[in-house]
Symmetry: C2
Subunit: 229 residues, 2 copies
């Protein structure tokens, strides 16, 4: 596997995908023909979303085609897969219905690099069960691409708005681990990413991440750090 | 329909279900035999959860039986249905698998009062699509009891932790309305509730709620206010 999984589309002080350009260039390794899955976009059109990402990643040498304009059977035409953030449920539903789940899984297993942020990072995990998104549509199953064997919680923070009594993020992740104690969850703060090469999972970025496992205390980890492999 | 749907289990300055006791007494109207669905509880046992609510609602004259200790076919033995908060996905999954979705829907349609908070308020809606919870298990469908014809977003606030770049609650609700523009969503702040009598839906509580509809500006509403009927 050759993956770049980012928490979100911005570093705290940067513009849209600014912090991702050099990382994307390194991931691509000279490849240029990129497939972009815009299906997480809900309040934007998929054309607009694809254009926005196309412009942001042009400096990385990538040329994007929106997956809504081609068929999953065409996947062999692409050298890189990019999956944008937005709503994880709609992303999973559309990717499943259009045949991209299976096509992307096979292509990435065969060596095609994969880049995703936010919902696109959730989709790379075994399930979408650690998304923060609102379940606006039924995705037809919570299973996802399974490109890594751990779960990512993007936009990770344990803070709540002042006075709020809802569950904290750590409580939500503890609920997930109560029903799936065999799983590992990476709380990935905004601005951070995972770089996966084969079985090696490396944490990158400016902020400490948090690693949660069933029946253990959560552990804070500072980049650069090897999380697996 | 005779419903009491609370945003959460605490008023901002009160103890557990303190603000619900008088409301529950009025809803019950002298009925005492209450069925309690504890299935939203994940990091507590259902026995413990039932005991906690039993003690909290004893001052309202209610005697609780945990739904995990009886069968859905026994629903006629109960005069009131109470559904506690926690994880909406596990609540819906368990209620569906154990036959309670259908049993409760029929019983409440026939006049049995229903009280729910947080996940228990979500369950009363047409779908669970406006929950804030993490999707830790697949509920086997996002359809819920459909006791009212609008969606509740419990623990409503539009605030984010300082510096956070994830979606605001209003953006999440806008995403839901983008795919379901025919729906109405009530953003119900902590400490507030809806009291439903027949087709009448009354807002109660100390804080302004927000009413969201597809293609319209959201409207702030202060209790007491009639939201339907």
């Amino acid at each position: 596997m050759n993956l770049l999984l980012l928490s979100n589309s911005r570093s705290p002080d940067g513009g849209y995908l600014d912090h991702a350009v050099e990382l994307a260039r390194e991931l691509a390794g000279g490849r240029t023909k990129a497939l972009f899955l815009p299906f997480a976009g809900v309040t934007t059109t998929w054309d607009e979303y694809t254009d926005k990402v196309r412009q942001a990643l042009a400096p990385a040498g990538l040329a994007l085609t929106g997956a809504h304009t081609v068929q999953a059977a065409d996947i062999a035409a692409f050298e890189l897969v990019i999956v944008g953030g937005g709503n994880t449920f709609q992303l999973t539903q559309q990717a499943r219905q259009r045949g991209w789940l299976q096509a992307v899984r096979r292509s990435v297993a065969a060596g095609t690099p994969y880049m995703g942020w936010s919902a696109g990072a959730n989709l790379a995990c075994p399930t979408i069960c650690t998304t923060n998104d609102m379940p606006i549509v039924d995705p037809g199953g919570f299973d996802a691409l399974g490109l890594i064997d751990m779960q990512i919680n993007p936009h990770y923070t344990n803070a709540l708005p002042a006075g709020h009594q809802g569950e904290t993020r750590d409580q939500r992740i503890a609920e997930f681990l109560a029903v799936r104690p065999e799983m590992k969850v990476i709380g990935l703060p905004e601005g951070d990413w995972l770089r996966v090469r084969g079985k090696q999972v490396q944490l990158g970025g400016p902020h400490p991440a948090r690693v949660f496992q069933g029946g253990r205390e959560a552990v804070e980890v500072t980049a650069p750090a090897l999380l697996a492999g």
